[in-house]
């Protein structure tokens, strides 16, 4: 147990250091809180909406599969220390274990549990852009009024859509008139 003594000493030093810094700041720094200073930071805009309270289930799945791998890793350490003693028997043992975990992993992936990417949506582009890449094809096209009218309201997803990227992506898409491209939905 003596081997842990230096860790305790180091821990005390670390905590003492943080404590001292914060305490000295408390003594030396001004403290004039106002309601504006204490408001949540929203880049200067007055907050209008509450924080998101609930998070996507994907995070839960990541934590779940992390547990699975963590346990596998924890079993690997004792094996790694004495695997030469165990010989081929130990190797087979560990292979069987790893295969089981790997199969579970593949099952998870095939179910999309570790997909974080934007949703892909296919969209036909025929007839909406001409295929020639010109100096203007990289520029966002503004529709005429008549074109927009009669269209349903664009999906909410696009409203937050980064129109920034549009300019850049326009060049790539503009050169393929008869192609389907993928787009992202900001999540």
């Amino acid at each position: 147990m003596d081997d842990y003594l230096p860790l305790v000493v180091m821990f005390v030093l670390a905590v003492g250091f943080v404590l001292l810094s914060i305490a000295s700041s408390k003594l030396l720094a001004p403290s004039r809180p106002t309601s504006a200073k204490d408001a949540p930071y929203e880049s200067g805009i007055v907050p209008t909406r509450d924080n998101p309270e609930r998070f996507p289930v994907t995070f839960y799945l990541v934590a779940m599969i992390f547990i699975v791998f963590d346990i596998e890793i924890i079993f690997l350490y004792p094996w790694a220390v004495i695997y030469r003693e165990l010989g081929a028997f130990g190797l087979v043992e560990m292979l069987v274990f790893s295969v089981a975990v790997f199969v579970a992993f593949v099952y998870l992936i095939s179910n999309g549990a570790l997909d974080w990417g934007p949703l892909r949506r296919s969209r036909r582009l025929d007839g909406t852009l001409d295929g020639n890449r010109t100096s203007s094809s990289t520029i966002r096209r503004i529709p005429s009024r008549t074109q927009v009218e009669g269209e349903a309201a664009p999906p909410a997803a696009r409203e937050e859509g980064a129109s920034r990227e549009a300019v850049a992506a326009g060049a790539a898409v503009g050169s393929t008139s008869e192609a389907s491209t993928s787009t992202e939905v900001p999540v």
């Binding site: 003596d2 081997d3 842990y4 003594l5 860790l7 000493v9 180091m10 670390a14 943080v18 810094s21 914060i22 000295s24 700041s25 408390k26 720094a29 403290s31 809180p33 309601s35 200073k37 408001a39 949540p40 930071y41 929203e42 907050p47 924080n51 998101p52 998070f55 990541v62 934590a63 599969i65 992390f66 791998f69 963590d70 890793i73 690997l76 350490y77 695997y83 030469r84 010989g87 790997f102 992993f105 992936i109 570790l114 974080w116 934007p118 949703l119 892909r120 949506r121 909406t128 096209r141 503004i142 529709p143 074109q147 269209e151 349903a152 980064a162 990227e165 549009a166 898409v173 491209t181």
Partner: protein, 409 residues
Amino acid sequence: MGDPVFNGGLDLGVLGIVAVKALIGFTFVMVGVIFMIWFERKIIADMQSRVGPDRAGKWGLLQTLADGIKLIFKEDLSPDRSDRLVYRLAPYLSVAPAFLTFTIVPIGGVFRGDDDGTLRVLGNDTFLQVADPPVGVLFLLAMSAVAVYGIMLAGWSSGSKYPLLGSVRASASMVSYEAALGLSVVAVVLLSGSLSTHEIVSSQAGSVLDWNIVRTGFVPFVVFLIAATAELNRPPFDLVEAEQEIVGGFHTEYSSIRFGMFFLAEFMNTITMSAIMVTLFLGGPDGPAPIGPPLLWSFFWFTIKLLAFLFLFVWLRAALPRFRYDQLMDLGWKQLIPLSLGWLLLLGAIQIGRDEGWNVVVVVLVGFGIAVVAAGGLLGAIRVADRRRDAFAEPLPNESAELTDAGVR
């Protein structure tokens, strides 16, 4: 096993050595941080053709100190929607693991020839590392597990949107890369046969060919380097505090010295991770000693190797653009983890094959065969997942306003 200083039981001399070693470790990290922040700013400035800090002290060397003193004099705000208790606890949870991890790094000692890395001080043999706990490198994993809480709770307790987003990003990506980190460390343990960092360094003494980076076949080193960068939340994996997206990430609401603590912990972790990499893969303080006392050379080699990694981290920051979150998670889960697991089993199979007298070529071929099958299964699974997603997302109507209004994406 363990630091020989404790072999004769605890007495005043032993306690003194422990205290002095802890103080030296503490000072090393603190001075290292002050230097590292300056070093990073200067190198980045050079790479971007700027001057960088040059006012405080010679070449701006005291800039970090000046910044630290400035931070102490700044007003400490806590947002009124924050969870006070956890908000105050989080900096401690960030800083303490950063200090503690460094304790298991041997920063010096002669390991070649008859020497086993001990130093005789006041009649006691001791290792030149603050602690050598029996759990060894597992302590690294334990501490990085704790470090996740510092960031996660800092973001959650702020009661604000950007910190929350940053901390949820961070905790998911940090646990993901912790798995890759753990798997690549197993490869080192496999070859050294011990968890103790001292033993790991001892087993690498000799020439460069004895270092674990060569003996483990580079792959675990590369995986460790990538995973460590992600674990540190350094560019190109710094989505936790992606300025363009979520302001400062998890520490947006922190100000004054509390913010300074997170900043400090981040750079401390960079130093610690570099030191761990030196220990695990580059032979620690091992190196030739042409003239003079070998002990001094061991410090020299350790520092040189450490600096190389610190420079590498800065270089990565200057050279690479930030990953997207899905790319980050895909790299960790779908590439690094299967790769390091497969490589580890292959290393084990080769060693056991050597012991049992199997043909190495056959072992490697069978290993690669299994790897190909596994990779095929994995790729198939990824394709299945992609197809499901495509089926799930309804195609957009073919409308021209679509393309023109929000732009083609």
